[in-house]
């Protein structure tokens, strides 16, 4: 039972810990989006956030492909 709980906990953690650098960058982008939305509450902040995240998707894939 203890083993199953430990495996489950590792699974949940693993869900969020893989690619933690890109997850941290994504969180920074979200924080930037939040600050931008405070200053400009229109749609621009949302689409700027999406654009930055899309660039992150491309950049992360290219970096992984080179390794």
């Amino acid at each position: 039972m203890l083993r199953a709980v430990r495996t489950a906990a590792a699974g949940v953690l693993g869900l969020f810990m893989t690619g933690w650098v890109s997850a941290a960058i994504a969180l920074c982008v979200l924080a930037g989006g939040w600050a931008l939305a405070r200053a400009f509450p229109g749609a621009a902040a949302g689409f700027a956030m999406a654009g930055a995240l899309a660039l992150l998707v491309v950049g992360e894939a290219l970096l992984r492909g080179r390794r």
């Binding site: 199953a4 495996t7 489950a8 699974g11 949940v12 869900l15 969020f16 893989t18 690619g19 890109s22 997850a23 994504a26 969180l27 979200l30 989006g33 939040w34 939305a37 405070r38 509450p41 229109g42 749609a43 902040a45 949302g46 689409f47 956030m49 999406a50 654009g51 995240l53 899309a54 660039l55 992150l56 998707v57 491309v58 992360e60 894939a61 290219l62 992984r64 492909g65 080179r66």
Partner: protein, 249 residues
Amino acid sequence: MGSAGWGFGAAFLGSAVESVEALTIVLAVGVTRGWRAPLQGTLAALLVLAALVLSLGHVITTRVPDSVLKSVIGGLVLLFGLRWLHKAILRSAGVLPLSDERDRFASTARSAGIGGSLAGVDWPAFALAFKGVFLEGLEVAFIVFAVGATSRELGVAGLGGVAAMVVVASLGVVLRRPLTRVPENTIKHTVGVLLASLGTFWAGEGFGVRWPLDAVSVLALVAVYTGAARLSVALLRSSTRHASLPEPA
């Protein structure tokens, strides 16, 4: 399409991928050691998961403010979607091998061949099925909970998750072999784009972004992430081709 439709679709597709993985494990154990213990393990895991979703889902959806919930859950859904999208891109471009349910079936069947029964219960078969269904089910539960809590449609998202499990389980009963023909990477790619888009939309709403035409903006976000994914695959394929060309003399 309203938020209920988006919620059902996202929960259904996400849950279908995880259900295929769980079903492969249960089938491998059942074929190798008989059906009673793996079905008991599956039932036990489903009961634990249902209790988790119902208890946590109710507390959080009734006590946490809407903007906080949308920001946090939207952010988590986004991270989840980006992770899936990243893997799907690498697999589509040939950097990672495609996930093969036949390999998973064979390796689980090898694991199930070890150990014996105690007190009339085949514990290794029970544990393998429980572990497989519980771990894959946790991901289903997370998707259902995140989609349902953020759109305030926990029931609809739950229905999407349960419908996916029923459809996949029915296919498993009919086929009685791993679902090797399910294009897992295509589904993962689609769900990754959908979750990243919904996550961005909900996080934005939580931050105070006023999206034009409300939920219709999700389509624009889907276009942005699909474009990024296609560009990534094209760039990766071209760099792989260049790397495999012989050096000029």
